[in-house]
């Protein structure tokens, strides 16, 4: 599973990175790296079976605390 994640990200980097380097797009490179890094870390965590919080549960909880729910 982790191997597949690695392979997938390698492909993405191979698609995007050379073009960015060649065109000398600095800012784009930085943003790309940050986003890809975030995605990579999360994917690895998921692949390792780490329990991440569910977004909708968090949202429901938050809004219930705020008292903003229908009935």
């Amino acid at each position: 599973m982790i191997f597949l994640v690695l392979l997938g990200f390698a492909c993405i980097v191979a698609i995007e990175l050379p073009v960015l380097i060649k065109a000398q797009y600095r800012r784009e490179l930085v943003v790309f790296t940050i986003l890809t890094g975030a995605a990579f870390i999360l994917s690895i965590l998921l692949a390792l079976g780490v329990k991440l919080p569910y977004i909708e549960l968090v949202l429901i909880e938050t809004f219930t605390k705020l008292g903003l729910t229908i009935k």
Binding site: L4, L7, A14, I15, V19, L20, K22
Partner: protein, 398 residues
């Protein structure tokens, strides 16, 4: 410059990605045809202990169905093989029974092509919601399969070979769909049953199938109608009352009404060609008054007497007799329904839909209101055709 084409040119990496995603997916849901046991009928009985269910699956044997008398294939000795196999399994629930059946079956049971669900009387008396729930919840079974009740063992029903069809369950389904030849059976699909379960007040009706024996050979016959209150079997309607029910529901499509002619003692068969029903209510009055208007179009089908009946007066006389016959059938249905306290006609649903305000006051004690309900029947029969001959085959002047 950053050009899209530069990215797209690396099509080999895209290809790589696709292959990658192809490998990640490993065909979990793949089910080859030869690994499926196509179930055509399900029968549900109570097991010996009275707690668990015993479920019978009628599984189609494709090559036996197709091979017929061993013409194809050339050997293999399949001619003696029945085209189906009745597999029995016990379980605490239906689903558990299905999974247990895999102990005995080399193939995975495939429920999508199931056509009939036959439920034993005892199971029906206990309540059939547990059965229905699985059949609605699971992705495989369809909502259009037919529901039947049998006083015999459902497992036995599914083992009886049909005289014409290779697959008995398909035969039963066809038998049901032929109801318009008599209009004395009310075919009910799973969907209709579930829909009426949701309508708090309406009682469900389900046709009854029984095993008969003629000349030592077993066969199946549709007769009567089972009445459910909520999901529990409450009682039965006879065939006359069943047609009475269908008149009110406007579901009569065909059939014969046999009239006794009062003076001559002969009989006339009136063939139904179409009927409609319309309900209206006087909601303000207590007890409630309902009017059911039934409009029938019919054909003079046969007669047993010599007199010529094709004259305006005689035809209108027959129309009157027909109307009376309809009245008595509906009356029968009403009486039997009142006895059971089961609103099989959906009068409650009618009031709910058309008179929602008044319904609010009625719905809590609907059973009481239903028993007291006054139903007026206004049948109107029209004989449109008289067949191919205009007078009986007797010499013109005697």
């Amino acid at each position: 410059m950053y050009e899209e084409s530069m990215v797209m040119k690396k099509s080999w990496i895209w290809l790589c990605l696709f292959l990658l995603s192809g490998f990640t997916s490993g065909c979990w849901d793949r089910k080859e045809l030869e690994t499926l046991a196509i179930v055509s009928g399900i029968g549900i009985d109570l097991a010996q202990d009275g707690e668990n269910y015993q479920v019978t699956f009628q599984i189609i044997r494709p090559d036996a169905v197709l091979g017929g008398d061993g013409s194809a294939g050339g050997g293999g000795g399949g001619s003696a093989q029945k085209p189906f196999w009745a597999l029995k399994a016990e379980g605490e629930t239906i689903f558990a029974a299905i999974r247990k059946a895999t102990f005995e079956s080399s193939r995975r049971l495939f429920l999508s092509h199931n056509e009939v669900v036959i439920i034993n009387e005892e199971v029906a008396q206990k309540g059939i919601l547990p059965v229905i729930d699985f059949l609605i919840r699971d992705a495989e079974p369809r909502l259009s399969q037919w529901l039947l009740v049998t006083p015999d063992q459902a497992g036995e029903v599914l083992q009886i070979e049909n005289k014409l069809e290779k697959i008995p369950a398909a035969g039963i389904a066809l038998q049901m769909q032929n109801y318009f030849a008599t209009s004395k059976v009310r075919a009910v699909s799973l969907h209709e049953f579930a829909a009426q379960l949701l309508e708090k007040t309406t009682a469900n009706t389900v046709p009854v199938i029984t095993i008969i024996e003629t000349d030592g050979e077993k066969g199946l016959r549709l007769e009567r109608t089972a009445v459910f209150k909520e999901d529990k079997l409450a009682g039965y309607l006879d065939q006359k009352a069943t047609r009475g029910l269908l008149w009110v529901l406007g579901e009569v499509r065909g059939g014969i009404i046999v009239l006794d002619l009062p003076e001559t003692g002969g009989k006339v068969g009136i063939e139904i060609s179409g009927a409609t029903a319309k309900i209206s209510a006087a909601v303000k009055e207590r007890p409630l008054k309902l009017l059911v208007e039934i409009n029938l179009e019919a054909i003079l089908g046969e007669k047993t007497i010599k007199q010529n009946l094709v004259s305006p007066e005689k035809i209108s006389f027959q129309e009157k007799l027909t109307e009376e016959a309809i009245n008595s059938e509906v009356e029968a249905a009403l009486i039997q329904a009142r006895q059971l306290g089961a609103d099989i006609f959906g009068f409650g649903a009618y009031l709910h839909r058309h008179h929602p305000k008044e319904w609010k006051g009625l719905q809590h004690e609907w059973e009481r209101h239903f028993r007291q309900l006054e139903v007026a029947i206004k049948a109107k029969a029209t004989i449109l055709e008289v067949g191919l001959i205009k007078r009986p085959a007797v010499p013109f002047r005697e």
